[in-house]
Each structure stands twice: as C-alpha cells, then as structure tokens.
Amino acid sequence: MMHQELIPHLFRTEYRKIISVLCTRFGFEQMEIAEDITSDTFLTAAQVWGLKGLPENPVAWLYHVAKNKAKNYLQRGNVFERKITPEIKSGFQYLIEPEIDLSPQNINDSQLQMMFAICDPSISAEAQIGLSLRILCGFGIDEIADAFLSNKETINKRLFRAREKLREQKIKIALPETSQIESRLDNVLTTIYLLFNEGYYSLNQDRLIRKDLCLEAMRLCTMLVENKITNKPAVNALLSLMCFQSSRLDARIDENGAIILYENQDESLWNPDLISRGGYFLNQASSGHAISKYHLEAAIAYWSTKKTDTAEKWENVLELYNQLLLIAYTPIAALNRTFALSKVHGKETAIIEAEKLNLQESPFYFSLLGELYRGMDNLKSKENFRKALAFIRSESGRQVIQTKLDGL
C-alpha cells in the first residue's frame, strides 16, 4: 500500500485510539489540544512518509510521534510551571516525566472511558453522536457533516458547544463505579442505538456512509461486550438487535439509494452470518432477569429475519410489541403494533385501533392507514398515502409512498 492510501486507512483505525488516550490523559480541559496533537501527527506522517518513504512499522511510528508531541506539549507546560513554582514553593525542584501510554490495554481502557464520558445526558443527543463519531470513530468533520446532511460550520459549532458543556459540567473521563455501571450504561447504549439508527434510517442516500455508521455502532457495542465490566445482558441484546437489523443492509437499498421495501427484498442478499451472530448475542442476553427494551426489540428483529408470514410469527411479534409499549412507549412502536394486530386479527380490527392512536402528525400514521385500507377501500387508502406524502421529509421515504400510490 502506498502512503497515499495507507494514511487515510490508518487515520480511520488509529486516530480514535491515539485521541482517546490523549484525551483521557489531558482531560476535557485540554481536549482540543489532544485533537490538535493527533491531527498534527497524521499531518507529519503525510509529509515525512511522502519524502522518505514508509517506515517499517507505520503504526508504531505514529504512536512514537504522537507520544513525542504530547510530551513536548506537557513539558512546555512544565517549564512554565517550574519557573513560577519556585516563587511559591521555594527550593522544590521536580520534573515529572509525562508518560503517554499507548499500549493496547490502555488504548482499550481509554476508549471505554471516553465512551462513558461523551455519552453524558448533559449534552444533546446530536452532540453525543457527533462527538462519538469524532472521538470514538475517528470521523473527520466533513464526514460527520455528510452523515448529518449538514455543513462543516454547523458541526464544528455543535462539537464546540458540546466540549464546552462537558468542561462546565466537569465530566470526568473515567469508568463509572461498579454500582453505577448499569444506569450509566443506559446512556451509552442509547447513543450507540441512535448512531445505528442514524445509519439505518438516514436521510442520506449514500449507501456507504449509512453502512459505515451502522458498523461503527456495532463496533462500539462489541467493545462493551468484550469488556468484563460492561458485558451486561442489555448490551448483548442491543448488539443482537443491530446484527439482526444490519443483516438486511445490502438488500434494503438499491444502487440509487432508494429504499427497497421489506416484502420486495431479495432474501439471498440477507447476511446469514449476521443473523446467526444476532442469535448468539440474543442467547447471551438472556442470562439475567431484567428485560430491557433492547431484548424485546431484538426478539422482534429476530422475527423479521423470517420472511414467511406465519400465524406464529405475527402472534409473537404482537405480543412483543405489547410488552415493548409497556416498557417504552414510542409512536413508532404503537404504529408497528397496530400493523402486527392487522396480521393477527385482520385489517378491520386494526383500522379501528389505528384511528384511535391519535398520531395525526406522523407521516407513518398515514402510511399505516394507507396500507391497512389498501384492498379494502382504495380511495381511503390513496387519501391516506397522500396525507403521508405531505408530511414526509426524506426523499427515499417519499419515493416509497409514491410507489405505493402508483400501485393503487
């Protein structure tokens, strides 16, 4: 691999490791400096490797340079301190050799600590995802802007405010105490799930970007599963859910970025490996007594990996949605439950229930009604699909509804 290709590759794999270690070492107070040093390391690599060719071990080279830059920075700080300190405390000379530990163990620990620190409810969900992409996933600002269909300035501002907030709140970069792990994990899992959904349901039509976000979310969750302290049932359930869902990633979007509806998907494009991994993690998730919403959603996602409509499938799905709504009501879950209800008890029953849901602001509400009326009262079906069109924001969603309308 030439350095032109190698550097972007290493940027993706090593940036996040170096920055986590430096941030953990420097704290949020000097987070920008940690980011600068890390970026600067890659800039140096681009310059030096371009002139002198690739070093024997590029990763070790990067770590070495990052360490030196960090040490230089810290020592400059030390000199300043040593000049002032004698004025305050006379005669006490000390020099701390700043240690930057880039061992695999410390890299892993630092990344986990950063994960807990960033996924703090004091900053907005969007900012949590943005910072996660930047620090934990090593995305560039323009990549994040792409993912959010936004621009660099907006993202920079958002991240700037988030860092400020983390500083103000004096958020510590550390693993929570054992007694608090489960409750703090909640926040981390929420962010990971949002990151995944950002990819899965993204407004962005670029298939690669979307897949990337999903894979990053799964990678972060895998880190939690691989660590003894954070390997909890809910973590496994979330990973299982993401495995099941992502098994259809290649089948649900065509080359033009348009969504292919579940019933029209080519099952041979579903990834059997991810489906079986989903099953494995769902098994792992059933070790405790508590059932999280991720358990229920993973179980629903399991049934989605079976395309054939059976009474067993829909009765199970309906029951799971009933339970899910009890733990965590969301309009989408209410709508999906009503769809399952139509599969179990027929469309008439489901329409009566749907119309009582009181979700007249959601495009999904109208597209559900459009779907339920289809074949029963096509005029009403059209009417509802048209209302859905008026509400929907994403181009791919619009296409889906338009296709349904055209088919009526």
Partner: protein, 117 residues
C-alpha cells in the same frame, strides 16, 4: 388529563379455569392492555390472585378469602389516563373479564391529591 382505575369484579371467584383457558385470558388481557398502551394511556395495573386472599374484619377477625360472605370478588385492576370518564369507559368495554356473564368492570376516577378532589 385524569387517571381512572378500572376494577375487575368477578361474580364467582371460586370458578376454576383450565390452564388453557387461563392462557387465552392472559393473552387477551395482554392485547387489551397493549391497545391502551399504544394510545399512551396506560399507567399501571396488577392481577389479584384469589389464592391466599384474606379478609380482616371487625376487631381483627381474619377469614379466608372474600368468597364466603360476598358473592363478588376483585380479580385485578388497571389504571388508565383519560380526558373524561367516557374515554375510560371505552377502554373498560374491551376488558376480557367482561366475557364472563355477571362480571363487571368498575370505573372510578382517582383523586389527584391536590386538595380539590
């Protein structure tokens, strides 16, 4: 929005249902509650098993079950949110308990504890 309690009254708590029948009721109840939850109007609820039921009476006299003296027994309750008692009544109409003849669901508004009720 007010909260209402829906109390299930069974005419004869001594009737023994088969496990299959129990399972069907359980499922129907889950679905009924699912429908209320889907409207985001479910607050909570519980079943009240007849087993081990006691009645504590005047001067602390304890008797088994409520079945001896009174015909009706309470089998469970749920609490729902509603804009009016009528909405709560609509929810109550779907309660599977009402499939048993003589059974009733009592709908009562829950006092808000703000000193006005």
């Amino acid at each position: 929005m007010d909260e209402f309690i829906l109390i299930f009254r069974h005419e004869d708590g001594m009737k023994v249902a088969s496990p299959e029948q129990m399972q069907i009721w359980m499922k129907q109840t889950m679905e009924w509650i699912g429908g209320i939850t889907a409207k985001n109007k479910f607050v909570g609820g519980n079943g009240l098993p007849f087993q081990d039921a006691k009645v504590v009476g005047y001067k602390g006299v304890v008797t088994n079950g409520p079945f001896g003296e009174i015909k009706e027994t309470i089998g469970g309750y749920i609490i729902v949110k509603g804009d009016s008692v009528d909405e709560a009544v609509e929810f109550a109409k779907g309660c599977p308990v009402l499939q048993g003849e003589g059974n009733t669901v009592e709908v009562r508004k829950i006092a808000k504890g703000d000193g006005l009720h």
